[in-house]
Symmetry: C2
Subunit: 342 residues, 2 copies
């Protein structure tokens, strides 16, 4: 393929709907690099994620939806730091230019870029197997980023939204035989497509929780797996942390309860990937404020457990209260991202 | 492949040789995002480049050298903005974890990261066809970045170093039959391997030229092609710019003159990719200072032409003075990056 064809591709990403002006963006695409001005009192938060065809999304994924997912999962990392979006860079590899695909992909990107006021400021377009790498840049008041390392024993564990919908959606997209029901109404199909391709990036929730939470992350590999990241990062040499989760408290959507067999629900909600909800540790003294802040935003905010000292359980161990109130160790982990033939 | 194997990969990139401390890096890898503090009076410069196997490098590329190339070509973009390296992010896709490959790749990365004091602060490791995406972050005093858009008619056009060595190296790596000589001495092999895999990122030159140059970029697709970017960006509605280059002035290395047939030399030097030298426009009043600054750094700095008003040539057109002193329009462009079977 001639380089000229790749210059054509660039045009899809050099358009006002994507490269719109923003105060801190001094120079956007077209030079050797972009230039950002970081306001006094703010720190820059950066996160990079790559999504590969047949690994993170199906080869026939709708490019309009796929683009949204690629940017949203990156924005979710900013939300998890309590940061606000500033701008993003994009490197896209394509086997060959497909104008229809590029048109739809760039439009999907523009929808999210505008919704989150996060313009495209640069990147790269290259030939190669289909792959989308995005880096998001966000701003947070100095010292106010919420890390994974601040949880303390006794903190309440909350999650935003509902768990498992994206995992159920992936089963549906892959025609998994474990589902109760695979033929769906159009509205239900839309809910599932949105759960997988258009997860909310919980920017507003993250910002609102800045002064309430002790630790936070976004759930990409399942609550069970990701909560362990918080527990490990927050443990010290003298104090190992674990958690108790109550399976009866997990926020599950109606469609999830309908589609996923009952015996699979808790496991899928805890270990299914791609939720992009926030897992938030909140000290007892801040719970009322945190709940009030989420109520104002209209975001479901559910206490699902408690951070505990690791007595009798492994470091970063999780105990699960089952439907009968019995406590057992959680010995399975998360991650069921899309992998073709995987 | 299990996710656990990818956690193993992360260990190669979570090591002090790569994640070393730097004043502006408040938080490195391991959380949802990294955090940077931008010093007062500085602006942030960001650039992202992806290198794909079989497109930008051969499938059997030495991982130790490849890693250096991946980071150096990104650092070259910072040099082209007159910025200094701050930190980088890396997203690497691999079909499967290969510990020997990862060990060598991470060591190569560490060599360059340390040489340029540019630590790795985050990124992603995913399964997929081999691909390396890097974003570099640099700092420049506010308003001091050198863009492509500042050139004026009459400015002298300079290049750092020598042109065409990387293109000759690529011919050699690909056993191109156009070369005069393909069996080389070990020292010559080393020179060519370095030209392709370890190009200098001209950070010091870029910084030293901040107050001398009117426009600057790094030459990745060949001088002829990249100079046109400056000419277009610097043209205005009322004044279109072109350039006159003198083929007799092009800085060519001894090994280039030996290996490349004479009739191919000028074309390859002007249109071969991967030089990563700086192309610098300098107003007449600043030429003495610019030359002196490069002499202090011991960097070859050669005037190869002049920016002119577009009279009688196309916008961004380039005229070439040939060996006999005759002037002709340059109608071919650059770009001979590695493309397997391309």
């Amino acid at each position: 393929m001639a380089q000229g064809e790749f210059n054509l591709i660039r045009r899809y990403f050099a358009q006002p709907a994507l490269n719109f002006k923003k105060a801190s963006v001094l120079l956007g695409p077209g030079d050797d690099a972009a230039i950002l001005s970081i306001p006094a009192g703010k720190q820059l938060v950066v996160s990079m994620d790559t999504l590969n065809e047949s690994v993170h999304f199906p080869a026939d994924a709708d490019p309009f939806l796929l683009a949204q997912r690629c940017l949203l999962v990156n924005l979710s990392d900013l939300a998890a730091m309590a940061a606000e979006p500033l701008a993003f860079t994009l490197s896209i590899s394509l086997p060959e230019p497909d104008e229809n695909w590029l048109e739809a992909f760039s439009q999907g990107l523009a929808v999210v870029a505008n919704a989150y006021q996060c313009p495209l400021i640069g990147g790269d377009t290259t030939r190669g197997p289909m792959s989308v790498c995005i880096q998001v840049h966000g701003l947070v008041p100095a010292g106010k980023a919420l890390l994974r390392s601040g949880a303390k024993s006794g903190d309440a564990i909350y999650v935003t939204g509902e768990l498992g919908d994206a995992a159920a959606a992936l089963w549906w997209l892959m025609s998994d035989t474990r589902l109760n029901q695979r033929a769906l109404s159009r509205p239900s199909e839309q809910v599932l497509n949105q759960a997988f391709y258009q997860p909310d990036a919980r920017i507003n929730a993250g910002v609102a929780l800045r002064d309430c939470a002790s630790a936070m992350l976004d759930i990409s590999d399942g609550l069970a797996s990701d909560l362990r990241h918080i527990l490990r990062a927050s443990s010290t040499d003298t104090n190992s942390l674990g958690a108790v989760l109550d399976s009866r408290l997990l926020p599950l959507s109606d469609i999830f309860r309908t589609m996923v067999p009952e015996q699979e629900q808790i496991k899928l909600a805890l270990s299914g990937g791609d939720d992009y909800e926030l897992c938030v540790c909140v000290p007892a003294s801040r719970e009322t404020d945190a709940r009030a802040a989420m109520a104002v935003l209209g975001i479901r905010f559910t206490r699902v457990g408690t951070v505990v000292d690791c007595v009798g359980i492994d470091q970063a161990g999780i105990q699960l209260v089952d439907a009968e109130g019995a406590i057992k160790a959680l010995d399975w982990q998360g991650y069921t991202h899309f992998v073709q033939g995987g």
